[in-house]
Point group: C2
Chain length 189, copies 2
Amino acid sequence: MPTKRELLIEAAARVLAEEGPGAVTARRMGAEIGASTMAVYTHVGSMDELLTAVHTEGFARFHRRLAAVRPSDDPAEELHALGLAYRRFARAEPHLYQAMFGRTLADAALTPEQAEQALSTFLILRDAVARAVDAGLLAGDPQDVATQIWATVHGFVSLELAGLLVDDRPARAYDALLGTLVRGLGPPP
Amino acid sequence: MPTKRELLIEAAARVLAEEGPGAVTARRMGAEIGASTMAVYTHVGSMDELLTAVHTEGFARFHRRLAAVRPSDDPAEELHALGLAYRRFARAEPHLYQAMFGRTLADAALTPEQAEQALSTFLILRDAVARAVDAGLLAGDPQDVATQIWATVHGFVSLELAGLLVDDRPARAYDALLGTLVRGLGPPP
DNA sequence: GAGGTGTGTATAACGCTGTTGTGTACGGTC
DNA sequence: GACCGTACACAACAGCGTTATACACACCTC
């Protein structure tokens, strides 16, 4: 049986994903779990802490999605599958993705828990990159290479979610971008 | 002499840049220009329209920054300078950058004016890419290539602003990413 | 079992927000 | 001089996050 805190976080993540950040209010969250507004303050602390918890929950879902990509013998195929899973998650839960990646550092730094969550998700990518480097597909320090891949992939889906991508065939453009990455990160000929 | 509408937009952009989105309120904006709250509604229409106008103003500033990068005889150097100007703008005005690129398409589509603004800024990059393709530095359709570059560059600075970049030398990592891009987008050997 | 203690809850209130309505002053037009 | 439309300040409304208050209930000690 989930605690009321867990119910609140789950409800907040769901309402955020379905109706956007404007719908996530303390009164609404209380009503969602059949309690009063005070539930947020008794069980979570504040709306800010609730949104922080949703951030963490978002990364947990993201982690599960990426971890579900089963390792392949072909590192190129595995990286491609990871890239597709990444974009699929962002398009499936745009508000959650926005809550996870859209914060500005100038506002508030990440909590240690958030940083650890983000790092553990990043490690999925880094390990796959390390295998690709071992196989000779990519070259360089896996950490640096994975950072570049993450930035690139995030940039594309972020522009896409913001409606700033002019391309009318985003899936094809995304594949082209992944191809560019592998070319640019490959060993020198 | 600027109109009160222009004063409001300028004040909103400034307060947004200096104090973040939470400080941009109707009462504050009225006080900023020495008028009452009603000024926002008389001269702009609503807070939402004001933020839309700030979005447009942000792209105008962005455009000026990128357009100030003077064309070089060396397309590689020009692209590199554009990339540095891009990151410099984002780091100088993170809240403005966030307001420009952080909206989720699911919330509200861009107005035609916003789309045109964004496109005209994109054209600066596309033209530079076209020159690089002519010079044999890059290969492919300039529009597609420029889209890939934009996505990549945006992804990096976006992660950086969100505090999710683990690298402790972001400037070096950014240069490495730009290098990867040029390699990946260059003509086949 | 009786009485104190502490936690969870609901209700109400405070100050803030965006927005709207009301009344008033001002400047141009017939 | 009378009229009209615009801009303005002030007040009010609903909703927000948050806090204070009062009540209910489980538990623990005597």
